[in-house]
């Protein structure tokens, strides 16, 4: 690659956030002959390889990678000497890590590791890097994935919240995610217990599908209790992570992961979250990226709902029905999905359908006031245990009520 062209390319690199896409535009316009395109392709391939190698070096973080990319020396990074790295401000252990990481046998070992883990890799220099994520100024340089990668470029919303969710929070998360994904929106979340898990389960079998952004490598289920969900998302959804295979897990990775969730999505829906939780960080990043933040209301006396609802005062959008979310993105959805508009609109309305029999409705009314035991329900309704049992079963199947230990029932 000639010096002038390389400078032109790196000038574009400096224009933060649009690297990969723009470079490919350049390939078509500056290099009209096939020879020029070939040179650029070679250059890109080298830069891409170096980016992955460096990203996988222990002790080399995103900030350091950005520094090297911006210095314009990525293409020749494997030829940089120890002293030069030190002059660039790297610490001795980082320099050793890099020199080790560029050894061909090491690169080959890493490649085999990814192959064995059945994971693919994409860099910010690739055309297929998720476009919305590329727009964020702190996007990952390298991403690993397993599953239906095409989901990463679809219009999506993040649905996130606390691990210690209430039954209501989990139900709302699953219901809203199912409806959004039913309308063609991909649902992004973090596969943590609680709200995240419910969001994935809700969206999994719907047309929009779901993306789990992990803090851990994509070849291992985490948390382990979610191994069934992990397996299903690997099959019909997408598992995505910035963390290289076999990386040592650090707490900051869970925080950093949240920026990817916010960055992939058009908007972030927070279902239930306590102050200082990861979901707060995701919402914070979404705001920083200029994306929408949605809040699912709950009881003002619930610590899980109280804090997040304060955002409503600052313009966050309340989610009363799933349509409050997907309705914002109808234009993107109709452009990008094959679902006709009438199908989308028929999916609206979050509340369960009111098709209850008179008996069901009367029991539901009693439970609406407060949870009650089966004995109480029998006394209040005057129904026989046999009838009451079948009515409760029907309400359970219709997902209108919830059974608690000791045959206590409450509304969902």
């Amino acid at each position: 690659m000639r010096e002038r062209d390389r400078q032109a390319a790196f000038l574009l690199l400096d224009d933060k956030g649009m690297e990969g896409c723009l470079l490919f535009v350049v390939a078509d316009s500056i290099y009209s002959g096939s020879r020029g395109a070939e040179i650029l392709t070679d250059t890109m391939e080298r830069m891409r390889r170096h980016l992955i190698a460096m990203h996988e070096c222990p002790g080399i973080g995103r900030a350091l990678l950005s520094l090297i990319v911006q210095s314009g020396r990525l293409e020749e990074a494997n030829e940089i000497r120890e002293r030069e790295w030190e002059d660039m401000g790297l610490k001795p252990h980082q320099v050793q890590s890099l020199l080790d990481g560029f050894r061909p046998e090491r690169i080959e070992m890493r490649r085999r590791q990814r192959e064995k883990g059945e994971m693919s890799v994409v860099t910010a220099f690739d055309a297929e890097y998720p476009p919305l994520l590329l727009e964020t100024k702190d996007h990952p340089w390298v991403l690993y994935y397993r599953g239906r990668y095409e989901l990463a470029s679809r219009p999506s919303v993040a649905v996130v919240g606390t691990r210690v969710a209430t039954a209501y929070g989990r139900h709302a998360s699953e219901m809203l995610s199912a409806e959004c994904a039913g309308c063609g929106l991909t649902v992004v979340s973090g596969m943590a217990s609680g709200i995240d898990t419910s969001a994935h389960w809700g969206a999994l079998e719907q047309p929009g599908g779901t993306i789990a952004v992990l803090a851990t490598p994509v070849n291992k289920p985490y948390p382990y209790e979610n191994k069934e969900l992990y397996r299903k998302i690997g099959e019909s959804g997408l598992l995505l992570s910035e963390t290289p295979p076999d990386a040592v897990l650090k707490p900051y990775m869970f925080l950093e992961r949240n920026r990817i969730i916010a960055g992939l999505a058009l908007g972030t829906v927070v279902v239930e979250a306590a102050k200082g939780s990861g979901a707060f960080r995701t919402a914070d990043r979404a705001l920083a990226y200029g994306r929408d933040v949605f809040v699912v209301p709950g009881q003002i006396t619930s610590p899980r709902s109280h804090e997040i609802m304060k955002w409503l005062r600052d313009g966050a959008k309340p989610v009363i029905d799933a349509e409050d979310i997907w309705g914002e993105y109808v234009s993107q959805l109709t452009e990008l999905t094959s679902l006709p508009m009438s199908d989308l609109l028929s999916k609206s309305g979050t509340t369960p359908s009111p098709n209850l029999s008179a008996d069901e409705a009367s029991i539901y009314e009693l439970l609406l006031d407060r949870p009650r035991s089966i004995d109480e329900l029998s006394a209040s309704s005057g129904m026989t245990f046999g009838l009451l049992h079948s009515v409760l079963l029907s309400l359970l199947i219709k997902r209108r009520i919830h059974q608690e230990p000791g045959f206590v029932y409450s509304v969902l």
Copy 2:
């Protein structure tokens, strides 16, 4: 009163909404001599007496009274003949009712009835008519009251909702009303079961106090289960009604009552309400009067909260803390109450204080997920029944939890 002056006065009457106040201003400005003021006082007294007499006639509604007031014949209404009434479009039974109502012995009987019922009367021509209510175009011409009438001119908010409220709704209503009244706002409601009742109980002992606007006459408790609340409001609050003593109760009176609640208040707070309920009408009137409408969020799966939260999309204000309500009216409060600003601000923050012991916090956490029985709590917490009992009692006293039949506990 000379014809020219009477015309001037009625010109002002036509300028709907400011009758009483403006007439008193006129008394000071047009009639500079004491003789003029005396004439006006006599006129006003006659008009006032006729208004009350006509208002108390069966079959004579607010619209008909407005017609007569606007015709300019109120002062001589007792001299209008049968044929003239008929020419004005009144039906025979209405004419009979009016002719009967103007009989001196009838007027005296009515006066004794009010005296016996320990109720006072105020008309839209009186300076002490509630000023905010007077601004509404369909305000009552006559109001009856019992209790601290000065509350009717204080800055107030209406707190209303469904009779079939949930435990959460009743708790939120009482808590928010207590805080608003604690900051000096008077809380107006309709003394119905459910949300209204909780609002009154919350505000009753607070500096702002409470006004119950009844559909029934003020000398009778309604609903009867609220007789203790009725008695207390009569003592330290204000009972207010448009309905004359011994009037036959009609369903429309309950609907009409809601406009008075909305009209008295700077804003209306809806806690929980099903579609088509009276609280919907109160909110609707508040909007028509250009007043604020506040919505207390709840679970989106609750039919009691779902419908009212839709108003958030149209600009209704969400109430996360009581300060979302009283914060809007701080200027009126500091002008009108003797509470210093620092006192007001120290009242902010709706959530119960987080002063829980470690044991209390761990039980609270367990209940936050879902209601549990005392057996379950004992098993999950590992506490002895003795300790668990004292912890639950403490949480009950601190109003953080709620005991349900069968020793099942849930968070408030």
